[in-house]
Structure formats: C-alpha cells, structure tokens
C-alpha cells in the first residue's frame, strides 16, 4: 500500500519502535525561543545533562522583544529577565542564538525558512504551537511543550504516538483577492477548532500547488488552529526554487542528492488518508472571524451570526459568549464593524509577500484617522527587504507605524497591545479573549483585508475601496 507524505517522513525518523509504546523519533531541527525554554535549560542543569546537538538547535528572541527603541534597554524587567536567561543559557550550552539587534533576529518560524534551515522531509520542533508553519516545505513540524523541549535538548529525540492523516484538498483556481489566509480561515470554519485533533493535515490540490512558499507557510501555520498537530504541503519545484541558494540549503552534489530524496516524498497515488476534506476553490472569498476562536469565521460578505443558528447547546452557548465578549449584535453586516487598530505581522502573515500585499493596497491611500496601524515585519531580513523595495515608505506615507521585527501584538507580550475594548483587524492567528491585550477584541483577516480595513475604518476588502 502507498504511503502519505507524513508517513514517509515519520518512518524515516524512527530511532526505536516497540509495540504498545510511542515511537522514538529523531529531530532534525530544534528551534528555541525565550518563553518556553528557560525551565527546560534549568531541568538540564539540575540533572547534569548537556545539549546533545547544539548544531541542530537554533534560538531566536521573538515573543518578548520590543518593536520600538530596540537599541535601548528593555523596560519591562520580566521580559528583560527572560531574554537574558536565553542568552545565558545559549552561551552555557553552546546553542547559537540570534538576539535583538542581530541581522538574523526575527520570529522563529520566519527565521528558519529564510535561512534555508527548514527543508523537505525533516522533522522540526519548537516550543511553540505555530511550528506547524515549517510543514509548508514538506517537513513534519510541530509544537511541543517545555518538558519536551528539555527532552529534545538532552536527546535530540522525542517519543511520539503516530498521528492520523487528513487530506485537505482545495481544487480549482482561487478567485482574485483570495489569499492563503482566507483559505485557512475557511478550512478552520469548516472542520472546527477541534476538527484536526490527532491529525497531520496534508494540503493538496491545484489551488494549493499554485500558492507561493509564503502562502503555504500561512496555511500550514494555522493548522494548529484547527486542532491539528501539523500541516504539510508536498515539496515541488516551488519549494526547490525557494530553497536553492539559501544560506543553509545544500550546495553542489549534495543539492542534487537532496532533490532526488525530496522528490520521493509526495504521497503515493494509492496512499490512504484517515480522513478527507474537499473544498472547491471557486467557492472561497475573503474570510474574517467574528468570534473568539479561529473557527468562528465567515465570508466578509456575511452578517454576524445569531446563537439561534447553532445546531446544539454547546455551540449556542459558545456563540452567545463570543458575541458578548466581542460586543456584536446578530445580523450586523461584517463590513459595518468599525475597527480602531490594524495589526500586520506575526508568523502567520509577517513575510515579505504579506507586506507587499499590504503595500499594494496602501500605496497612494491613507489610513483612516480613527485607526492606528502597526506593520511589524517577521524578521530583520524581511524588514530590510521591504525597505529595499520601498515598502517601508509606503507604510509610513499612508500613516502606518513601521516597526522592528518580533511577535508583537500577535500575543501582546511586549508593549504592543490592545487597550480594553479596542477592536483590531489582525493578520495574526488567534482571536482568543484577551490575546492581543486584556479586554481587546480581535478579528482575524488576510493582509489585503487588513490594509483595506485600515483605510476604510471598518472591515473591508480592497475591492470595497474607491
């Protein structure tokens, strides 16, 4: 019987298999950041253990870093302590780290791919649920908790029970104005925040093949929001073109050897998935969330739903509670929801292509007076690239704030936050209660919708702008 992409990558990394026990998997790349690692390094120290493979480990500072005045000392003492702990731990255990101010610093899931460290067929882990991003390359990549971080640091392996596989096939041509973010919000709305639990999702079909690597990363990034452990896209010429020539990509004969191997990875024609979901690309349109989890999304042309629409009591209570928190009235057209803050950035949509999409909308336009707009690049490299293309000037000319790289308002661990009651259109990944600041309200959107919303002052797509 044929094997799926996920099964091939899994089986190529089994160090030890025993009946009734989890497989012990070898980890090719372990990414580390300041939030989920201090207790792991402490655990190593307490047990007298070392980092087995510092050369397969890379740390960056992202979750806490400020996006303004980065040359000045960090004012929040706890953030500073966490960043200092990372630096001390990396120095002590020999792990390379890209600190604030370094030209390679950035969000861990932007840095890995841009360096060419994320490659097809690899196993990639990080103490961060959005590690699923790296699955865009046909890697098996997933988030882990701090004790697993410690486990990987100590052993470069992880005991894991095999995942089930789910094919998500999006066939056809994406309508104009529909981006990877809209596809992923539609997928999550369709299968629910728990629909992917226990599964690795493989995105397939002509609409997926037509996506750039940036788009595929957006899609795989959000897999976790459907409850899935990982999302994957089979490697193809788009993948190879992106990787070729990057700092850590193989060179010369090794490149040819790698491509030969990578080409064997796509799911076999007779592979059987444990579950399948089919979406007709032609039915998709710009998608936004109205509620407090990423599955509570609808096409922008819709109205705020009513609790009465729910098919069961659990959903009814969930809708009611979400509307109360979001301060929304059933039946209100989504396009009429006023927005005071627009955030562009995060590991979901903080890459160069996302910034280009935003600049294309903002060029020659102004952010509405009622709106504060932050544009936060995913990495220093993305920032420099954007500047070289003149995008930074487009943002500032439109009245947006053009910031330094980091996770920023996606999770508001740094000073970039919503005030209570503020309402954002955000290109990030989570609209949970308080995610972007206590009492803040979040609508998840694509970069193009974020930009159009900033201009209009209410949820809007570029086609709504005059």
């Amino acid at each position: 019987m044929g094997r799926t992409l996920a099964e091939k990558v899994w089986q190529a990394h089994v160090v030890r298999h025993a009946e009734g026990e989890p497989d012990l998997l070898y980890i090719d790349l372990h990414l580390v950041h300041e939030v989920t690692s201090p207790q792991a390094f402490d655990g190593l120290r307490a047990a007298g253990r070392t980092v087995r493979r510092p050369d397969l480990t890379l740390a960056t500072e992202d979750h806490n870093v400020p996006t303004l005045d980065i040359d000045k000392p960090i004012t929040d003492p706890i953030s500073r302590a966490q960043l200092e702990a990372l630096r001390v731990n990396c120095a002590e255990f020999g792990v390379p780290v890209y600190s604030l101010g370094d030209t390679e610093q950035g969000i861990v899931h932007v840095v890995g791919p841009q360096l060419g460290l994320t490659q097809p067929g690899m196993t990639v882990v990080c103490g961060d649920s959005h590690t699923s991003t790296h699955g865009a390359f046909g890697a098996l990549a997933f988030g882990i908790g701090t004790s697993e971080v410690e486990h990987v640091l100590a052993t470069q392996t992880l005991p894991l029970k095999p995942f089930k596989t789910m094919a998500i096939t999006v066939e056809g041509e994406l309508p104009a104005g529909v981006s990877a973010k809209d596809v992923t919000l539609a997928v999550i709305a369709k299968i629910g925040t728990g629909g992917g639990q226990g599964y690795v999702l493989e995105y397939r079909g002509s609409a997926i093949r037509s996506l750039s690597m940036e788009g595929r990363m957006t899609l795989c990034n959000m897999s976790i929001e459907a409850g899935a452990r990982a999302g994957m896209v089979a490697p193809d010429s788009t993948t190879y073109d992106y990787l070729k020539g990057r700092d850590r990509a193989p060179q010369g004969a090794l490149w040819d050897e790698a491509v030969a191997y990578w080409s064997s990875l796509p799911s076999d024609d007779d592979a059987i998935f444990d579950a399948e979901v089919f979406i007709d690309a032609a039915t998709l349109s710009p998608f936004v969330t109205w509620g407090t989890n990423p599955g509570q999304g609808l096409p922008l042309s819709s109205v705020v739903p009513s609790p009465a629409d729910a098919s069961n009591e659990v959903d009814r209570v969930a809708i009611e509670r979400a509307l109360e928190y979001m301060d929304l009235t059933p039946g209100t057209p989504l396009r009429q929801i006023p927005i005071d803050t627009v955030f562009v950035g995060s590991c979901t949509n903080g890459r160069i292509e996302d910034l280009r999409a935003v600049a294309d909308v903002l060029r020659g336009r102004r952010v509405a007076d009622s709106v504060r707009m932050l544009v936060v690049p995913g990495s220093v490299r993305v920032r420099l690239q954007a500047e070289s293309e003149g995008l930074g000037e487009v943002f500032t000319a439109a009245g947006a704030e053009w910031r330094q790289a980091g996770c920023s308002m996606c999770l508001a661990m740094n000073p970039d936050k919503l005030a209570p009651g503020e309402r954002s259109a955000s290109t990030s990944n989570r609209n949970f209660e308080g995610r972007q600041g206590p009492g803040g309200r979040t609508h998840l959107v694509s970069p193009a919708v974020a930009a159009a919303t900033a201009v209009a002052g209410h949820l809007a797509s570029p086609s709504d702008l005059a």
Binding site: R16, G20, E21, P22, L24, Y26, D28, L29, V35, T36, P38, Q39, D42, P54, D55, L56, H63, D76, Q82, P96, L117, G127, D128, G143, I144, G145, S147, E148, E150, H151, A154, Q156, T157, P159, K161, T193, G194, Q197, G198, I224, E225, G227, R229, R248, P250, W255, E257, N293, V314, V317, A318, R321, L411, M413, R430, F432, E433, G434, R435, P438
Partner: protein, 195 residues
C-alpha cells in the same frame, strides 16, 4: 514525578467549551523563568469575576476540573499544565482535549481523563447539586466515580503506565542511547546544521 494511582477529591464544573491555553494562563504570566508559582495566573481573566466558579466558596479546595469539550486548545505553553497543577488540580475531565495540551499534561503528571459529553453533563449536575461530593478518579481501573455515577474514561496506555510508575521521559529515552547513536550515524550529509 509523583506516582498517580487513584485520586480522591472534590470537583469544579467549568461549563465552557474551547477553553484555550490563553484563558488557562494568559501570556503575561509566561515571562517568568521559574517552574512554580503559576497558580495566580490560572484563568486570570475569568477569576476577576467574583461569580466565576473557582471563586465560589463551595468550590474551594477542588482538585478535579470537569470541563466542556476541546479543553486546552491553542498555544503549546506548558505553563497551562503548571498553572492547573500549582492551583491544586490533579485531574481534568473533558470529552475532548487538544493534542499538545494532552501531551504536556501526561508529561507533567496531570491526568486528562476523556469521557463522553453525557458523562460530563451528569458530573456537572452531581457536583453542582452537592459540591462536597467525593469524586474518585481511579487510573488503575480507568474509572471515575461520583455519587451514583460510575463511568470509564479513556487514557493513553503508555501515558497511564508512566503516570502509574511516576517515570521521567528523558530517563526512559536515554536507555536507547545505542539506537540514537546508530541513527545519527546514518543521517544524510545534505541535512543542515545551525552552526
């Protein structure tokens, strides 16, 4: 890690679905670099409401949380498990758990026992009627008992074994050092390094 065989305690009903880890512990509490003391962050936003279940006098001292479906979704923060444990919880019962949270719980020694939603609803009624009801979570028998209710729960065999033995994962893995060395020697040369 402490061994877990049977736990007896009182339980709190959390009548909410999709309780994500941002609710269990908001990001602002994640800046600490210690491993303990996260109890003040547990459900921090909700606990500001005096009517929140864990603020009610009859639910003080609970050690079992009976939650709605899809508990623990979202961020992989293990602090969610620590916050529940530091607060005093030993067991969470729900009809569905998010994968990463469930994995983190098993490693940290917090039992996530999965039962059908109708059992959750029955438990809610029992503990709301009498919050002092003694709830028994028997990992040996994979069974939860409260009042007249007796229900089997699902837990992964391997996680159950580790919890009952109180075993540390790294210690178990290091018994396979020879296999790890052999695997490492066979890795293709085209794979990248970070240094």
């Amino acid at each position: 890690m402490e061994q877990f065989i049977t736990h007896v305690g009182t339980a709190a009903p959390l009548r909410r679905s999709n309780v994500d880890t941002d609710q269990i512990i908001p990001a602002e509490f994640l800046k600490r670099i210690s491993r303990h003391g996260f109890e003040d962050g547990l459900f921090a936003a909700w606990r500001k409401d005096p009517d929140f279940i864990l603020n009610q006098p009859q639910f003080q001292g609970v050690s079992i949380l009976v939650a709605g479906p899809d508990f623990g979704t979202g961020s992989s923060r293990e602090h969610a498990v620590w916050a529940l444990q530091d607060f005093g919880f030993k067991v969470v019962l729900a009809s569905r758990f998010a994968d990463i949270f469930r994995g983190n719980s098993g490693k940290g020694g917090l039992l996530t026992a999965q039962v059908p939603q109708d059992v959750i609803e029955a438990l809610w009624l029992i503990i709301e009627a009498d919050p002092a009801t003694e709830v028994v979570v028997d990992l040996q028998a994979r069974q939860v008992r409260a009042g007249d209710l007796v229900a089997d729960f699902e837990v992964d065999d391997y996680v159950r074994w580790r919890l009952m033995e109180g075993l540390d994962d790294i210690g178990i893995t290091l018994q396979s050092a020879v296999q790890i060395n052999e695997f490492e020697d066979s890795r293709p040369a085209f794979l990248p390094v970070t240094i």
